[in-house]
């Protein structure tokens, strides 16, 4: 069934009219479609149609688990299965998804396409490291089963390939066994970026889950408040009895006024957040630990009608001052990031175009405005000079020349893509912007 819809990414700008084909049957939905779209959590234009009116297959209704083997720790499911549903199934059985991003409102297909990472990247790698096989529909319409042995090149180009090497129909995934469905969390308040990075790296030596938050409003990152979060699956004896209760999330339902997330309110929030962060160590529900922002279903509307973007980059481990330079660039442009998250990466992502590399990743939420392009350009100058790269799942404003400068792997990936889709049938607004695809 086709329907005309106005589509946006999670950042809510731009708005593109598309023709959405939604079906429980992904083979039917993707036939002749120019792109696939899941729950629409890519911030920028990664899941937007290449041009107004292009057909986009929506995978949301194709969410069946096709095979679950708890003993072998293996699952196969349709690509539209959401992480929220998957987690609910797995936690009750003493299993967990091996890698989860910062929101539960993503599909398996989306997690493959972005090769997402989580708080355990330093230890468990990326989502793609746990993907055992895929069923895909490539550009010429053929449907293929691919894995590390069969069509290895296409498989690796699809992990982190932003859905541009083919429509992802089914995903086979290895699972993690967990001692309890709770997370043991500890928090460490820190002052200044150096201390934060030092604590983050120290924590990652012994803890499977680590992440750090920095008060992005501080004038000087060297003295900013920060919190390092560390966690692990709680042992059975540490965990409260039973499963964590399903969380009720609130919905705002309308656009906040543009002034809401200004310095005053965000500053106040950050002070409260930093002050209350020294919580006692203890068990928390996985959703509170992994997906804190999901407690507000549509928090993206807090930014108002203007929308926002997230700038997420990774800088290599051998450039210890690169993170500081990125943050200084934001400050120099008179901007403030309302949410700044840092995380250390341990190993490169498995995909040909995966985002992760050993180093430090920074994610900065920025309201969109007339100065956003100049800021992203300046940030990309810094990141390219430091040998880092940006995360396509978040990106909206990067220029093709910047992306090329950051991505020595780009030509190899484009070659694989061309091999399987010589006529360029699969494309998104992102690939038109960055790779010069025909709209």
């Amino acid at each position: 069934m086709l329907s005309e819809e106005l589509l946006t990414g999670w950042g809510r700008t731009p708005i593109v009219p598309g023709v959405v084909r939604i079906s429980r049957d992904l083979e039917a939905a993707t036939d002749g479609a120019s792109a696939s779209r899941g729950l629409g959590r890519a911030y920028g234009d990664a899941a937007l149609p290449r041009r107004a009116g292009a057909i986009v297959a929506c995978t949301r209704l194709a969410d069946r688990v096709l095979h679950l083997d708890p003993e072998a720790g293996k699952l196969r499911a349709e690509a539209g299965l959401s992480l929220a549903r998957l987690d609910a199934l797995l936690l009750a059985r003493g299993l967990a998804c091996p890698v989860v991003p910062g929101t539960e409102q993503v599909t398996l297909g989306g997690m493959v396409a972005a090769d997402v990472h989580g708080k355990n990247q330093h230890e468990a790698g990326c989502f793609g490291d746990h993907v055992r096989g895929l069923r895909v529909r490539v550009g010429d319409g053929r449907i293929l089963e691919i894995d590390r042995d069969n069509e290895r090149e296409l498989f690796l180009a699809t992990l982190g390939g932003m859905g541009l090497t083919g429509h992802i129909l089914e995903v086979e995934l290895g699972l993690t066994r967990i001692p309890s469905p709770w997370i043991w969390q500890e928090t460490v308040p820190v002052h200044g970026l150096d201390a934060l990075l030092a604590h983050l790296h120290e924590a990652s030596r012994t803890w499977p889950f680590t992440v750090a938050w920095l008060d992005g409003l501080a004038r000087d990152p060297a003295g900013a408040r920060g919190i390092v979060f560390r966690g692990r699956w709680a042992e059975h004896r540490e965990a409260p009895p039973g499963l964590p209760r399903a969380r009720r999330s609130i919905r705002i339902g309308r656009d906040a006024p543009d002034w809401l997330l200004g310095r005053t309110l965000v500053g106040a929030f950050n002070r409260v957040y930093a002050a209350t962060a020294g919580r006692r160590p203890g068990p928390v529900s996985p959703s509170r630990f992994f997906f804190p922002l999901d407690s507000i279903t549509d928090w993206n509307r807090l930014y108002g009608r203007r929308g926002f973007t997230q700038y997420q980059c990774v800088v290599p481990a051998d450039r210890p001052t690169a993170a500081l330079r990125v943050l200084e660039t934001v400050g120099r442009h008179g901007e403030a990031s309302f949410l700044s998250v840092l995380k250390d990466f341990g190993r490169p992502g498995p995909g040909l175009l995966s985002f992760a590399m050993p180093g430090t990743t920074l994610a900065l939420d920025l309201p969109l405005g007339s100065r956003s392009q100049a800021l992203v350009d300046a940030l990309n100058d810094v990141v390219a000079a430091e040998g880092g790269r940006i995360y396509l799942a978040k990106d909206l404003l990067t220029r093709p020349e910047h992306f090329r400068a950051m991505e020595p792997r780009l030509d190899a990936w484009l070659a694989v893509r061309r091999k399987w889709d010589p006529e360029g049938r699969i494309a998104t607004a992102l690939s038109v912007r960055l790779f010069g695809d025909a709209p």
């Binding site: 086709l2 329907s3 079906s23 429980r24 049957d25 069946r64 688990v65 679950l68 699952l75």
Partner: protein, 245 residues
């Protein structure tokens, strides 16, 4: 609960079945496509249903499939106490006005054969001393409205039948649950303009399942439709004739 579900592969049927699977009900699935049924059976096992979840083909447009399908379900489940029918067809008023074949098929599937199936179910449930029959109808059958004249006519007829079934056989142990469904975002309604008060399949499924457990004869889902229906019923014809609602 041992339940037979017609329409379990998609939309509201899928959502109800998953909730029943998670709480350990025994399930048997009826539907048109055997491969689709097998995939849904696996999905329900993953959601907690006791394996194996059986299935067989049954099509509202082929009434000769009803009796064998129900016999097979009874044999595999060792008798069933609940039957849930969520399968139905939908087409817009424009299409039904211009395509007589589509109209005929829709009326057959949603009215004639749904009632034929319910009669087969009724006989079987009464023979074992009672049980629950839950049929998903629509608020389109509440009062005639311009956008759903033909679709609503079949749904109104179905509601009439279900109410009568409840009057006649409740004392004998047959609990009839008729669901008056408002707009729900499923594959069936994809492409339609989403009206206010649209529901999500999972929330609607939770509400229907509660009604089944309590044996309530009528349930509105999403719940706000109960009050919209009160208003609709009280509107004079002269007003309704002017509305495009």
């Amino acid at each position: 609960m041992k339940a037979v579900v017609l329409g379990a592969t998609g939309g509201i049927g899928r959502a109800i079945s998953r909730r029943m699977a998670a709480r350990g009900d025994r399930l048997f699935l009826l539907g048109r496509d055997p491969y689709d049924l097998a995939a849904s059976a696996k999905d329900l096992e993953a959601h907690g249903a006791i394996p194996p979840v059986g299935s067989t083909t049954c099509d509202l447009l082929q009434p000769e499939t009803f009796a064998p399908a129900l016999d097979r379900a009874a044999a595999e489940l060792g008798g069933f106490d609940t039957v849930i029918v969520t399968a139905a067809q939908f087409a817009t008023q424009d299409r039904l006005e211009t395509e007589p074949d589509t109209l005929c098929r829709l009326l057959l599937a949603n009215f004639t054969h749904t009632i034929g199936l319910c009669e087969e179910v009724r006989r079987r449930l009464l023979a074992r001393g009672g049980g629950t029959l839950c049929v998903v109808s629509s608020v389109a059958g509440e009062r005639a409205r311009k956008p759903v004249v033909l679709y609503g006519a079949a749904k109104a007829g179905l509601l009439y039948y279900l109410e009568g079934l409840d009057h006649r056989f409740r004392s004998a142990g047959l609990r009839t649950v008729s669901v008056k469904l408002g707009f729900v975002r499923t594959a069936m309604t994809a492409g339609l303009r989403v009206p206010p008060f649209a529901g999500e399949p999972d929330a609607v499924a939770a509400r229907i399942l509660r009604a089944i457990d309590r044996g309530r004869p009528v349930v509105y889902a999403p719940p706000i439709w109960r009050w919209i229906a009160v208003v609709l019923r009280s509107l004079p014809r002269a007003v309704l004739r002017r509305l495009e609602f």
